[in-house]
Structures are given as C-alpha cells and as structure tokens.
Point group: D3
Chain length 247, copies 6
C-alpha cells in the first residue's frame, strides 16, 4: 500500500504546520507520503467558534483544490473545523484530529479525557465529543490555561501543565487514556504518556493511522445522504465551491 | 419596548429575504423593527454542509458589521449556520430559526417533528436537534423531496407535500407540533397548521418572538466561556473578524 | 398586541403573590396585563412532592375557573406543579416558570445551572429538568440551604447565599447562566447577574416573555394527544374538573 | 413473614377496586393480607393529566390516613399518580403499578413494551417510563383504542385488542415482555401471556410481589432528600397533609 | 408458596458461600429453601474481567446441571457473571445480585450509589449499571480500596471503610440508597444502613426477594429472542452446554 | 513497520478460520503477518449468550498462551466475546471485530446499521453497540434469518438476503454504512457495497486495519484500571489464567 495524505493545518502559523507535518511523518507507515499545508488565510490559532468558522471556510478551499490528488485528508485542529463539509467535497476519506484521537483511544481505554488549551475551549471540546456521539466514553475535559500559541512556542514549557491536567483526569475523573486537545501538544505525546502511565493520543498521529486504515481497506465516505456532494448552484463572493458556477 | 432586530438570510436569494422579512414583520410586536438582509455572497440556497460552512462565514461578516446597531439577531436558515460564532461577535442575543422553532414548540407539545425539504437534509436536521440537546423532545424528521428553491418559487404548490409529511409525523411518529424545517416554508405555517390540527411553527416567526422575549427581559449572551469574544489576532485572507488586526 | 396573562402563585402566601405580580409587571411588554392570583388553598410554600401535589390541584382549580378570560397562564412555582394537567384544561398556552427559565437560558448559554432553595429541592430540580428533557443542557443544581419563606421574607439577606451557590456553579460546574429555582428569588435576578457576570433568569419574568411570544405568534397548546381535554365523566369530591358532571 | 398491604385504586369505580383486590390477593404470598380501597373521590377512570392530578390528591388523602396501619402501599393506576408524594407521607414502602410492572419485567426480558388503553395514553406512558429512568429498556408503547372503563366492563371482550397490540410489540418492536398499562387489564395477564408466548405482567400483581420483597427485606423509603417528610406548615383548603396545622 | 432457590457463588471460596447462604436464608420467606453452592472451579475472588469470564463459564456449568431442580437461580457476584447466558439455559428465572440490588433500590430512592471493593472495580461497576440500562438512577460508584478477600476475612474491620465510602456517596453525590457492591459486604447491610441513615441493599438478600417475587407471580425468563435456548450443536472441550452433542 | 497479528476465530469451524484468515491477509498492509487460529474447543458457531460465554473462555486460553508472540490480537466474532478480559491478559492491543467495524464506519457515515445473521442476534447486537457506547451512531440492527453456518457454507447464496437487509437499513432506517454482523459475511463486503452504494465494513478487515493503526502508533491497552492485569490467585478447574497458581 502506498497512500498520499494531505494534512491541513487550519490556522496560519507555518511553524505549527511544520510540527504537524513532522508528527504526521514520524508516525506514517512506509509508503505513506504526507503533505502538510497551512491554511491559505485565517488566524494564527483557533480558539473560538468564530475562528473555527473562518478556518472551516479556509479548510474547504484547500480540500476543494487539492483533495483530488490525495488518498485521504486530515484536518489538524482539535475542533475538527469543516469536517462534514469537507466530506462532501472530497472523493477520499476525511478525518478530523479530534475524531481520530477519540476513535483510537476507544479500544485502549474504558473512558478517555481530553486535555485542552485555554479554559474557554472546554465547551468547544464538549461539543466535539457530542457531535461525534461519544459522550458515554468521555470521562472529562481538562484545560491547561495556556493558549495554543504559547504551547506551540514552547512545548517543553507546556509539558508540566499538560501533564498536571492529564493526571487529574486519570486520578479524579476515571480517565484511562488522554487525548491531547490541540495539534500543538502532539510532539509531547510520548513524554506525557510516560509520565502518566496511560496511553496519550496525538490527534495528528491518530489521523494518519486512521486514514491509512481507511485507505488500506479501500473505504471512502458514504455519499448517499449526509455527505452527498452539493448540487451545482450559482455562487458569489470570495469563497469557492466545487461544482458551483460563478453567478 | 422597542426592539430593532436584524434578520439575516444566509443564502443569496433576495426573494427569500423578502419573504423572510415579511414573515418577520407579520409576527413582530408593535415597536419591533425588522431589517432583513441577504447574505452578501454565497449560494442561492443552503442544502449541504459545505453550503452551510460558506453561509456561516457570510453570516459572520454581516453580524460583525451590523449587529452593533441592533437589539437582536436572527439567523434565518434552519441549519442555524454560524450561530455559536455569531454569539461571540454580537453584543446582543443571537438565535437561529431551528433553535427558535424548537424552543417555542416545547411548551406546546409533548414532542415535535421537523418537516424538511430534501431527503438529504435529514441528517443535518438530526444534527441540529442534537446540537441543541433536544433529542428527547423530537419525534422525527420528515422530508418532502422538494428543494428549498422549489419551495420558495411556489409555496402553495409545496403545501400538499409539506402537509403530507407533517401528517405522517403526527399520525405515525407521535408528533404534536411541527417545525417547518426551511425558512421558505414559513408563509405556509397557518395553512398547514389548520390542515393538520396541531401547532405549526415557522422558525422566522419564532425567532422574532424569542428575540423580543430576550430583549424585553434584557438578557444577552453569556460571555464567560463558550461565547467569549475571540482574542485579538493577526488575520489574513478575504474574510474579516472584529478585533483582529490585518496581518 | 395586547395580552392578558394570568400568573398563578401555587402557594398561599399573599406577599409572594404580590412580589411575583410585581416582577411579572416589571417585565411585561406594553399592552400586556398581568393578573397575579394566590392559590385558593394549600401551603404557604412548596418544598416537597406532597405540597406540590396539593398545589397542582389548587392550580387546576384556578386554571379551570379563570383561564378562559386570559391569553396565557403562568404557573409560578419552580416545580411547575400541575403544568401538563393545566394544559389540558386551558384554551390558551400554559407555561411553568422552571420551563420558561430554562428555555430562555438555552439561547444565551452553553449550559445553565439551577440555584434552588433547600437542599431537599435538589432531586425535585433534577426531575423538572428531566421532565422537560433538558438534561444535556443543565450543568448542575446548587442549593442555598434557605427555605422559600426565608428567601421571601428577606430577599436581600438571601442574596449572598444565592450568589455564592451561583458562583460555584459557574466556576466549578461550567454553568454560563443561572436559573433562579424559586419564585421568591426573582427580584434578585439583576443584582445577582451583575455580581456573577452571567445571565441570571427569573422564571416569572421568563414566563411572561415566553407567553407574550406564544400569544404574539398565535400558537396554543397542541390538543391531539398529550394535552387533549379530559373526557366528560362523573366526578365526586371536593375538587372540580371542567366538563365533568357531579356524580 | 406477614405483611399487610394497602392497595389504593386511585379512581372511583368500585368494581375496579374489587377486581384489583382480587388480583392482588390471587398473587399474594401466604401471610400477606390485602386491603383494597377505592379513592374517596375523583373520577371513575384516569386517562388524562388532569384526572391524574386529582387522583394524586385523593391518593395522598388515603395514604395519609391509612398507611400507618400497613407494611406497604401500592398505587394501582398505571400512571403512578401521587407516587413520590406518597413516599414522603408513608412510613412504609410505596410502589406504583407502572413502576412495579417494569421492574419485574427487567430481569425477564431484554426490553419490554407497554400496552395501554386509549391512544391518548401514549405520551403519559412515555413519561412514566422516563420518570423512572427506564427508557433504555422500553421497546415501545402500544395502545388498544379502548377506554379504561370499556376494558373494565368487558375484559374478555378487550382481550383480542390487547393481544393484538402486544403481538405487534413483540413482532415489530422487539419487546420480549409486555406490561399491561392499565389496572383493568390485569386479570387477563395469564391468558394474554399464553397467547403471546412472552411474560405478561400485571402491575397490581407485580406491586404486591415487589412490596412483599421490600417488606420481607425490611427496607423502606429513603428519607434523606427526595422523599423527606414535608415540614409542618399552616394548611388551608379541602385537602389535608399530615403534620400541617390548620391555618 | 414454596420456592427452592439456588444461589451460586461464582468464586471458589467456601467461607464466602457459607456467608452468602446464611444471608440468603436470613432473608428468605417462610417456605423458601436456599441451596448455596460454590463454583466448582475458578478463583477465590473475582475482581477482573478475566476472572469474571472464567466465573461465567463455571456458573453456566452449575446452572446447566442444577437449575432444573430449582424455582429460581441467583448469581452471587456483583458483576453478574454469566447472567444472560444462564437465562438461556435455565427454565426458571435467573437474577444477578447487582441487578437485584439495583432493582430493589429503585423504589426506595431517587438515585443509588454502589460501594465497591477495590478501585479497579469502578469501571466494572459502571459497566454493570450500563448493561442493565440504569445509568439515570445511579449517582456514583465509590470504592473502599479493600479486596474482596480482605472484606470476607474481616467484615467488621471493613465496616468503617464501607461506611465512609457510602457516606461520601450520600453527602457528595446525592445518593439516597447504597448498593453493596460485593457479596462479601452483605452481612454488614443493616449496620451500615443504621450508620448512614439510608437503605443499604445487599444484593444476595435482594436476589432472594426478587426471585421470590418472580416465582410467586409465576413469571419466567422470556425465551423469544435474547434468552432463547441455544441450538443443539456439536461441542468440544472441557466445558459443557446442555443440548449440545459431543463432537 | 511490521506487525504480527493474531486473529482468533472464537468458534471451532476451521473453514471459517480459513476464510477469516484469508480476509485478514487480503486487507493486511505489507509487512503485516496474520496468524489465524481456531478456538481450541467450543461450538462450531456462536449465536447465543451461552455460546459466547464458552467462546470467551476459549479466547482467553488462546490469548494467554499466544498473545506474547504478537503485536496485536483480533477477536473474530461479532459479539466480541472475551474482549475486555483479553485486554487484561495481553501486553498488546486487542480489538473485537464488532468494535473495529463500528469504529471504521464512524468517519465514513452519519450513522451505520448492522446486518446480523439470525433474528435472535438482534438483542446481542444491540448490546454490543451499547457496550461500546455507540448507540447515537447506530441507525438499526437488521437480520437475515440465516444462521452463521448457512452463511459460511454458501456466502454467495446468502448475498441476496444480506443485501436486502442492508438495503432496508439504508432506505428505511437512515443508515449510510453497513457493518456486516458476522465474520462469515466478510468475503461479501465489496460485492454488497457495490450493490448498495454505501461503505460495507467487514469486521475482520477493520480489525486488521485498526490493529495496524494502533501498533503503528505504538499505543497499547491502558492498564491503570479497567484492564489492569488480574492479581495472582490460586486457580482450580479446567481453565487457566496467567499469573495464577494452581490450587
């Protein structure tokens, strides 16, 4: 099997794209090629619904232009911005890193917790769990108080805060695995796992493995209802949509 | 009380905006002013996740530019595109018409059903119910097989199909009220209600009444966590975000 | 629009009725008339299932006798005693203040908490949330340790305890809005909201606004199943039921 | 063990009380004495929320006056009217026949269905299942179209309709046991069970057995929170409440 | 009524069988005979999924050989090992002590908690609650840190730890009844109940009473789907299955 | 990456093991080695809880003896017999084919359905969905009326029945992907997928891909609570347990 995977960083911080790409490649199977791309526009980090909405539009632009050349697409922000929409546009499987992290945690643990960045991420994390229908398996959402860019700038400096949040999830909430709730935390997965003694899942790595699994099995998104391609319609404005005609 | 309400039609069809505005005004209390605006760009109807994602971005643009001048904002597409993001940007209450229709159905009925346009809308409707946490009160989603633009072009012609779907919801699914799952169906609410003998709720009317209630009571969106304003960040690209700086 | 609303205080404490009526009028739209009535009999406060059961019967008596002359009815006790039964008897919409407070909190907050009076109210509050199917949106129930009559006698004296319970709900439970779980707490809504920095909802105010919304939209209780009028039957005993005949 | 059980028929139809008493006695263990009493007032059958509310008050009157002399109390109407309130007043265990039927069905079947009388009972049955938190084990509610009094007047004539509804529950809904959703259907339990080939549970019989179990084990209602006795308060009106003082 | 009940201790510790049998007899009705048997093989205590799997096979062996001679069977380990399988093999009702304890707690309390032995039991307890569909009624699982054999060896010495865990469940989690999550704790039920002031349920006692109820009512396991007897098949290996033929 | 995977067929039918092994190898990545083994004893097919219980014990025996030599283990029966127990014993990841099929369906479809063999499998399938906490994503369970051995003997002959059940799931229940609820159906996955136009997932293939993902990422079962290894204890009887001592 050889798989070409597109990993989309929905924010505009190139250093995060580099780190995401490195993490993806570090975990890729032989024969898997990774292209990591930065969102063409948007904000340097995504920590609010509004930033997620912008990021979703940017993700769609990337997916519409480039997905055809790949075997699978990963959306590398823990809110999974634009995930369902991207599924309508791409001929290949699309996964979000929140989704992938949680799905790989399921066979390893009775329940998992998510460790997220800022406190304000908590309800967003609650929503991403509910959107994927996995509430019964989520023990808690814990936060570090650090912003995404603080974590990206100094992952080692963030390690203590992430580990502390994870430890409380394990000791107080009954978590048996930890999903790192931010692509920027990914490079710390092994170290924090060693510190906590439970599986710690980086969504980027998980997305690569999940896409390899789907591509290897030859299964793509169901197109009969929820993820049917949009109809051809007249389109106006700065954004684009495949199949639409410019009005 | 006087309230100025902004009703945003997230699609680009001006005739739908006119109909939405008329419906909103028809149900507005004395002292309530309605401004109905068409999305500045996008697609003429919204029937897929991808179109919803584009619409969310367009809605945000409108809300960011104009919400300051209003006492409340309604998003007039039954998928509630951009709702949570708009709440972060607006200093005033924001409601979606799916949310409003369901909330006003609750005190009138043991359970409600949604009658949506195309069959492909069914999972989107399921998701909007789950996103608002109202599954326990939703009896079913029924569809008509008609597109949004077919309904907008000839509401009377669509009446039979909508009534038939609603009747099955009442007779087979245990629905006691019907939420019309498309802004274009709104003008038919009274006629279908008379035909079915149960309350039939147009989300646009419901949104006006719900906003009047929130404005009248003087309560606005909580800004402590889920709907906190985005941080000021450097922004690039065709879209805008209040508080951000152009990178 | 003009609406005549009947607000029923299910307990027998006239001073609470006066405060409830004042709160209702303070939040009523122009053209809305409020009649607040005290339960004709029962207990001075309602803090147990047994007192709720008695109150439900008293509420029904008031609704049966008087609802015809009104456009909407509010039941002003946070357990919503007699709500479903009153819907069968009244030709106009009927809302409970627990229901109304929660419904108006939904578009303002990711999740709400209820601050109730005595500790023993906690399971009753849990049940009212479950009865309305809103568990997914309720962060917690917190209590003050104060009785309803202590709160009514000295609302200002109760303010610190209510604010403290609400603050814990916000800080520890993830609440973004607070529903005041007792009609007697209502007059404190604005002050506690200012103290906590989140929307604080008085169910009495919420019920007035929700009824204005339903009346303004012209929608009444569905009568096809759950809230169909009782059949005419022979009745005995001290209570009455419209349509029944004295056996 | 000897147990004295009070079975309260919440409606005023003495012939139903006789049938209920006979069913209770037919299933009582040696040493169990059954007193079946008719509600002192109310309606001859209970098929609406309003009739349930009246019945709850009548049940409370009986329980307050008589429970002291018994080891356990059963409320013999499938809506379990007044159940939680009665638990506050009685020093002994109190069960409802809906609750008892469902609890005894659980160890016998993967999921159960309820066969109720009139179609209008469906939402009331849904609510009684949800109130006891047993939705995950309830396959469906089916109805017969017959009224309670029609069933009581001619149980044999009702047998075919009840069996037909139960058969559809088994064949179409996955039910493996049937709870008879009306005290009047009770005498048919064995015959319908033989016809359907699944356990058919009469709530009256189940309540007797469940009370014998609780009494035999010496466990009574927890009084620490939900079912704590009401405080002593001044009471007015036609109803009574133990511990209260006449105002 | 006379009932012969078989109580199977799924572990191999004869002193626990004796204690279980004594508890069962102490709570049996006149006319009920109890035979308590020790698993023919396995481990001296059951505290893991693997030990549960072995115990399930041992339980099946006992049930297949002996259930015909009894009116009901109880499986006396709080994980209910082999419960569903035993129902397929036994012509009489089969209950687990977790199931029985929870079912008898339901009519006594708004919500119950389980006090289990070792911390590692917590997810197993969560699963047994979910398997019976009773999550909505379970307030929490608390643990003592003591092993099953430590409890069996010195119940009085364990009393303080069990009471402390139960007290926290009542005071912090809202429990109104306690289910003792281990057969070895059973003899302490009355003492801990007295200490906590809430009903404390021993699953062994509860299973006896629940079986007496089912036997007394003459209802046995539904055999139409989930618990249909296995087909006759060729069997190999050290275990046996009734109806199968030796390959 | 190279991975050695052990695929355990929990029944005793060697031809099924061969087919399972072939399916596993057909979908294995380069570098993945598959050893498919037949249960050392048990029944030729598993269609009841009792057969599942026996199979779980046989699976444990295989896992205890052989898992050390592998990088991952799959349990190839759609009821996932012995899954949690095997996780306690194996130093490597263990997945069940029901679990794997559902997890790979999730990123491809809004909701999936399971097509199972005999009608009696329906409640077992419901339980496996609930055990993994995935009810919100499961549209329905459909059955074919064919036994496992009938399917194994003549997969092509079974194709029409499986496709018909799947088609009803898609058209009537809203399924967008199908999980084949029996290892014997696996070889038909592509053909039925082509016929239905939705992704059809064979659990064996899915388990191989999921294990490759987990092994490739280097994550194994969490051992802190639910899946902690059993304590060393004295063991008796025909079965074995690693770490235990022969009593």
């Amino acid at each position: 099997m050889s798989a070409r995977l597109l990993v989309v960083n929905p924010n505009t911080t190139a250093s995060m794209t580099a780190a995401i790409g490195a993490a993806a490649r570090a975990h890729a199977a032989p024969g898997t090629e990774i292209d990591a791309v930065t969102a063409p526009w948007g904000t340097p980090s995504i920590e609010s619904h509004a930033e997620e909405a912008l990021a979703a539009a940017a993700v769609l632009e990337v997916v519409a232009e480039r997905a055809d050349a790949y075997d699978g697409v990963a959306i590398a922000c823990f809110g999974d911005p634009g995930l369902e929409a991207a599924r309508e546009l791409a001929p290949v499987p699309v996964v979000g890193i929140a989704e992938a992290a949680m799905l790989l945690a399921l066979p390893l643990a009775h329940r998992f917790s998510i460790v997220a960045a800022l406190d304000r991420a908590r309800p967003l994390m609650d929503d991403v769990v509910r959107r994927h229908g996995l509430q019964a398996r989520c023990a808690s959402v814990r936060t570090t108080g650090l912003s995404v860019l603080e974590i990206d700038a100094d992952p080692e400096g963030a390690e203590a805060a992430i580990a502390a949040a994870g430890r409380r999830a394990v000791q107080e909430d009954g978590a048996e695995a930890i999903c790192l709730g931010c692509a920027g935390m990914g490079p710390l997965d092994a170290r924090i796992g060693a510190a906590l003694g439970v599986p710690v899942i980086d969504g980027v790595a998980a997305a690569v493995k999940l896409l390899e699994a789907l591509v290897g099995y030859g299964r793509a998104t169901s197109r009969v209802a929820a993820f049917r391609a949009p109809e051809a319609k007249a389109l106006t404005g700065p954004l684009s949509l495949p199949g639409s005609t410019r009005a």
